[in-house]
């Protein structure tokens, strides 16, 4: 398997990363070199082996979905880039109607 420029552009879109043409081309070579070292795994017999997602004695249990895990020392206005009325402020989605234009 080898990584193409289209592959790099595709995963960059999935990962929400903008890339210049130069950087995208460089990444094609870098990812192919790195993944070339991974091909050794295809030769390992893993029939009947269950994949391992975690190795902790406690497993990966979920905590109750009951709000913040612990009290916060400061409000979101002190660390978020933009907030309004205690909410995170994001750019308007193109699918949302602007009430001032409606």
């Amino acid at each position: 398997m080898s990584v193409s420029l289209d592959d790099v552009r595709h995963v960059a879109t999935l990962a929400r990363l903008g890339l210049t043409d130069d950087r995208a081309n460089a990444l094609v070579a870098e990812l192919n070199t790195i993944l070339g070292h991974m091909d050794v795994l295809s030769k390992v017999d893993t029939s009947g082996i269950e994949p391992v997602a975690g190795i902790g004695a406690a497993g990966t249990p979920l905590r109750p979905d009951t709000g913040p895990a612990a009290a916060l020392a400061r409000g979101i206005g002190e660390f978020a880039p933009r907030t309004t009325d205690g909410f995170f402020l994001v750019p308007r989605l193109s699918t949302h109607e602007d009430p001032e234009e409606a």
Binding site: H10, A15, H37, V44, T46, G59, P61, P81
Partner: protein
């Protein structure tokens, strides 16, 4: 009276308890040594943020000392890696995307250190989001090795290792996903320990690869690392993967005789092309363990050579998911773009450095449709085989394993431009992360003046046996460990 830099954390705590050193003097001395490390054109760039306003904190610890209700780290200055949340200093993960971010909550490990009386004096430099083995991938410039400033301190916790090696503090917290505590400990000539997965809460450790991430401890001597680790260990309801196993007393681990202890020498960690000087240092350490009564047994961990490919599939895959949260909405940097999607892309492209970008793309690729089974699922299966190797050896009557920590001493800044060449720095350490077993690196000598680390690996939750061996080996090697 000021603090003597060569005493252990426990000795400093005791001196503070006797009134020979004040809490403020100990903190001032740490900051003074930090200033020395920072001075001049060859500044080591070890620390990113320092707390110069420690008056209230020192007073409250001093009050506890004076009232004879001081904790086991009362007045001991500590340094925290920049990816572990503190509420008094920024937590930027060595990244532009979190530059200046101050967490609204404190990591459990930091809270436990502070409850024990420790004084957090600084946050340390690191590879961006802990992705690297040299601390050259920090957005705030590379850190240098205090033993040889033309060399890297290792990474990704290079700043914490260097802070201990430079004598700024006796105890520092680091984190590791594939060896990022033990490898810099070896490069800087200090002790570094990674506990069993689940032994120390990850609450407040900024997630890189959640199934591999551990908080670890650096110490100038084995006792410092033991004291630090036993302080931060234990079940934490804020981390659902933390374990309910009883916490061992590590500072009282038997030190001296190793009679009845079987130490495995895994042949895959001593390949034919291993630097003969490193092999010689390891053989001397094994001889020391044998002379203390240990039985040395040749063993095999046959899937060791697959650990780097497995690690560099699983860790980037998990990272690509974990780092999705840095999107310009909730914390840190925001760069406006064309709409919401444009803002995401502009923020992430402007905020992440080249290595983080590379790993996010690699991780996204191995998780994407058509490649998941060939890469990610396959890596998870081989990870099971690697974990099984360790279980089989420990089930066969072997108590501990001894290996070199790294295949080379600290390398020169800029020496490794090929990413995969850098990844190979973790070849002897990442197996313990994949299997979740505890492992410790301690100094066992020097080659051309550069420190060499020996690694002791134990079975799950057997940190006490591991520390007993480390104490014994440290005492047996004596000054030779630093020559």
């Amino acid at each position: 009276m000021t603090d003597a830099p060569d005493r252990s954390a426990a000795a400093l705590r005791d001196a503070i308890g006797r009134g020979e050193v004040t809490v403020r003097a100990a903190a001032r001395d740490a900051l003074g040594r930090a200033a020395s490390a920072r001075a001049g054109a060859d500044g080591l760039n070890i620390l990113l943020y320092q707390d110069t306003d420690l008056g209230d904190r020192c007073r409250s610890v001093q009050d506890a000392v004076d009232a004879k209700r001081a904790g086991p780290l009362a007045g001991v200055p500590v340094v925290i890696k920049d990816n572990i949340a503190t509420t008094t200093l920024p937590t930027s993960c060595g990244s532009r995307i979190l530059e200046g971010y101050v967490s609204p909550y404190r990591a459990t490990a930091v809270a436990r250190l502070e409850q024990a009386g420790a004084v957090v004096v600084a946050k340390s430099n690191m590879d961006e989001f802990a992705m690297g083995s040299s601390t050259e991938h920090s957005a705030f410039g590379p850190a240098r090795n205090p033993i040889a400033p033309d060399r890297v301190p290792g990474g990704s916790s290079g700043g914490s290792a260097a802070a201990v090696a430079a004598g700024i503090v006796r105890i520092a917290l680091g984190s590791e996903t594939g060896g990022s505590v033990r490898q810099p400990a070896a490069f800087c000539g200090v002790v570094g320990v990674k506990p069993t997965y689940g032994r120390v809460s990850r609450y407040g450790l900024v997630a890189f690869a959640s199934s591999l991430d551990h908080i670890g401890v650096f110490g100038r001597v084995v006792d410092d690392a033991a004291l630090g680790l036993q302080t931060i260990s234990g079940l934490d309801p804020l981390d659902s993967t933390s374990a309910a196993e009883p916490v061992s007393e590590l500072t009282t681990a038997v030190r001296g005789s190793m009679t009845g202890v079987v130490v495995g020498r895994p042949r895959e960690y001593f390949p034919d092309d291993l630097d003969p000087r490193i092999r010689d240092r390891c053989d001397r350490a094994l001889d020391a363990l044998r002379s203390l009564g240990a039985e040395i047994r040749d063993v095999s961990l046959p899937h060791t050579s697959l650990a780097i490919p497995v690690y560099y599939i699983i860790a980037p895959a998990e990272a690509s998911s974990n780092l999705a949260r840095f999107d310009g909405v909730r914390y840190g940097l925001r760069i406006e773009g064309d709409g919401l999607r444009g803002m995401y892309e502009a923020t992430r492209s402007g905020g992440f450095g080249p290595e983080v970008t590379r790993r996010i793309l690699l991780g996204t690729y191995v998780l994407s449709a058509g490649y998941y089974d060939a890469y990610y699922r396959k890596a998870q299966q081989v990870r099971a085989l690697i974990a099984r190797d360790f279980a089989r050896v420990f089930d066969s009557g072997v108590h501990l394993l001894f290996t070199p920590t790294t295949p080379t001493p600290a390398f020169e800044l800029g020496a490794k431009s090929d990413p995969y060449d850098m990844y190979l720095s973790d070849i002897f350490t990442c197996t313990a992360n994949l299997a979740g077993v505890p492992a410790l690196s301690l100094p066992i000598g020097r080659v051309d003046g550069l420190p060499i680390g020996g690694q002791i690996i134990a079975a799950h939750f057997d940190e006490r046996q591991m520390f007993a061996a480390a104490y014994a080996l440290e005492r047996s090697l004596g000054a030779e460990a630093h020559q």
